[in-house]
């Protein structure tokens, strides 16, 4: 007889646990304003990434088309994947001295793992992490970028 009551009790406790579960899902069903889905391309205007977000490596230029990169190559050394290549050239400055400056700061976005080591390595804060994250593209060759803009110069007062 005891086992019979156990049997009945088992059924009711079982149904009770099922109903508590259903209560949870029902709670969310009937409160649709709590939905967490973000309609991504539509909310693009209001979408703000966190300031530290690591989207890509960029080299900020000021209004005179000047950057801070000296072409020292520390970021190239720090990069674990070889996604940065520094091509430097030597010029003769006004004082008649030979000087090596940056020609092209090549950045392979396709190989980058966004580890931030290059930004840490940079002594003159020439490169920073950008917030852009929509990198998808039809053509792989567009992932190879030259970070210093054409015709840009190094800022005054950046130590070699």
């Amino acid at each position: 007889m005891k086992s019979f009551f156990n049997y009945i009790a088992e059924i009711f406790s079982g149904i009770w646990t099922l109903l508590t579960g259903m209560k949870i899902t029902a709670k969310y069903f009937f409160t649709p304003w709590r939905n967490v889905t973000q309609q991504y391309p539509e909310n693009r205007d209001t979408l703000v990434m966190y300031e530290r977000f690591r989207g890509e490596v960029i080299m900020p230029h000021n209004e005179n088309n000047e950057h801070k990169c000296t072409g020292c190559g520390l970021c190239e050394n720090a990069c674990p994947n070889g996604s940065i290549e520094i091509i430097s050239k030597s010029i003769v400055n006004e004082e008649g001295k030979k000087k090596r400056i940056i020609d092209q700061h090549i950045y392979h976005l396709g190989m980058c793992t966004f580890c931030n080591l290059c930004v840490r390595a940079c002594p003159s804060d020439a490169i920073v992490m950008g917030q852009k994250f929509e990198h998808a593209h039809w053509d792989r060759s567009t992932f190879t970028k030259v970070l210093n803009q054409p015709g840009s110069k190094i800022m005054e007062g950046i130590k070699e």
Binding site: L18, M22, T25, Y28, F29, N35, V36, T37, Q39
Partner: protein, 362 residues
């Protein structure tokens, strides 16, 4: 009564009269059959697509998502787009399948809802077959579907499919019993197996209320067993995604897959419709005792609306099960049937019989 004005009998009768006066009786039958066939085909296609959409939206709401939103406003033509995609897909037949049975299986599966839907009374006068053994017909025909599932599992020459098919076989054979028995319980109360008459008998009150305790037990069991019979979660072992990838329809693609998919949803409709008819009074409006004003208002809502409201209520309940519970294991499914549902059901039949004999029902 007021809702009698929504009776479809005059319309169908006038069509029949018009045809029989103008053409020969044979042609009349043929034309009527064609019309009915096309109507059912349309209904199944449209309602199936709608149910797929509803399922996606309902499950999204349970999961705090939005569901399909891209194709059309609120994604309403998403399923149509999916259906077109499935139609245009290549029908891949794997190399070493049993070709005949492999191709036959989806058709057997899709035939079942077409057969069973014929006895469903949607509204007064809107029913194509009115057997005196309607309830029996539904239980008999719905078990044909398992043959299709078994064939699909076996003919696919895939071990996952085979396991899925065998699970489905074991499961449906067991749960058939519960579905049948809970219907028998209600047949005892009704005293008839004719579907239209069962609905008509609930004019004074739904059987769920008339038969109180045993009817409630029977209803619960019917919903559980019906969920299991349609292979839906938490009883979706035959296609248990995390175990068998897709179970018996792993190897099917394109429209053949769509047949399995559609059949599942139409079966869902049929189970809900049967529950509505037998327990919730079919297209009968909801009446409350002596509240004449309330009852009159209820009567103004057409029977068709009542029917679909109730059906959607039960479909929602079954979806709610699916999106809340984890899946059972195969032996637990059989344990649930043979150790719990069946004994309770047998006891319930006895209870109901005693009640009807002593006139304890309302």
């Amino acid at each position: 009564m007021a809702f009698e004005k929504y009776d479809f009998t005059p319309i169908t009768q006038s069509i029949h009269q018009g045809l029989i006066e103008n053409v020969s009786p044979l042609l009349t039958t043929i034309i009527e059959w064609t019309i009915i066939g096309v109507l059912y085909l349309l209904f199944i296609a449209v309602f199936g697509l709608f149910l797929v959409y509803a399922e996606r939206k309902v499950c999204a709401a349970f999961q705090q998502r939005l569901g399909p939103m891209r194709v059309g406003p609120w994604g309403i033509i998403q399923t149509i787009a999916d259906f077109i995609k499935l139609l245009m897909k290549e029908l891949i037949t794997p190399k070493s399948v049993d070709k005949f049975l492999y191709n036959l299986a989806p058709f057997i599966v899709i035939i079942v809802p077409f057969l069973t839907i014929s006895v469903i009374p949607f509204a007064p006068g809107l029913q194509s077959l009115d057997f005196d053994i309607g309830v029996f017909f539904v239980t008999a025909v719905s078990s044909v579907g398992v043959i299709g599932v078994l064939l699909a599992g076996w003919a696919s020459n895939n071990k996952y499919s085979l396991i899925g098919g065998m699970r489905s076989g074991a499961q449906i054979v067991s749960y058939e019993l519960s579905v049948g028995m809970s219907l028998i319980t209600m047949v005892i109360l009704a005293g008839t197996m004719q579907v239209s008459e069962i609905v008509e008998l609930q004019r004074g009150g739904w059987f769920l209320f008339k038969g109180h305790l045993p009817a409630l037990i029977a209803f619960t069991i019917f919903v559980i067993a019906g969920t299991a019979e349609t292979n839906r979660g938490p009883f979706d072992l035959a296609e248990a995604e995390s175990e068998l990838t897709a179970g018996f329809h792993t190897e099917y693609s394109g429209i053949k897959f769509a047949f399995f998919f559609l059949a599942e949803y139409i079966n869902l409709f049929i189970v809900s419709a049967m529950a509505t008819i037998v327990f919730l009074g079919g297209w009968m409006p909801f009446h409350f005792g002596d509240w004449a004003a309330f009852n009159n208002v209820m009567d103004f809502i057409p029977g068709l609306v009542w029917f679909f409201l109730k059906v959607f209520g039960i479909i929602f309940l079954i979806m709610w099960f699916k999106w809340t519970f984890p899946r059972l294991r195969i032996d637990q499914i059989l344990t649930l049937e043979w150790k719990y549902l069946l004994p309770i059901n047998l006891f319930n039949i006895l209870l109901m019989a005693t009640m009807v004999l002593l006139g304890w029902h309302w």
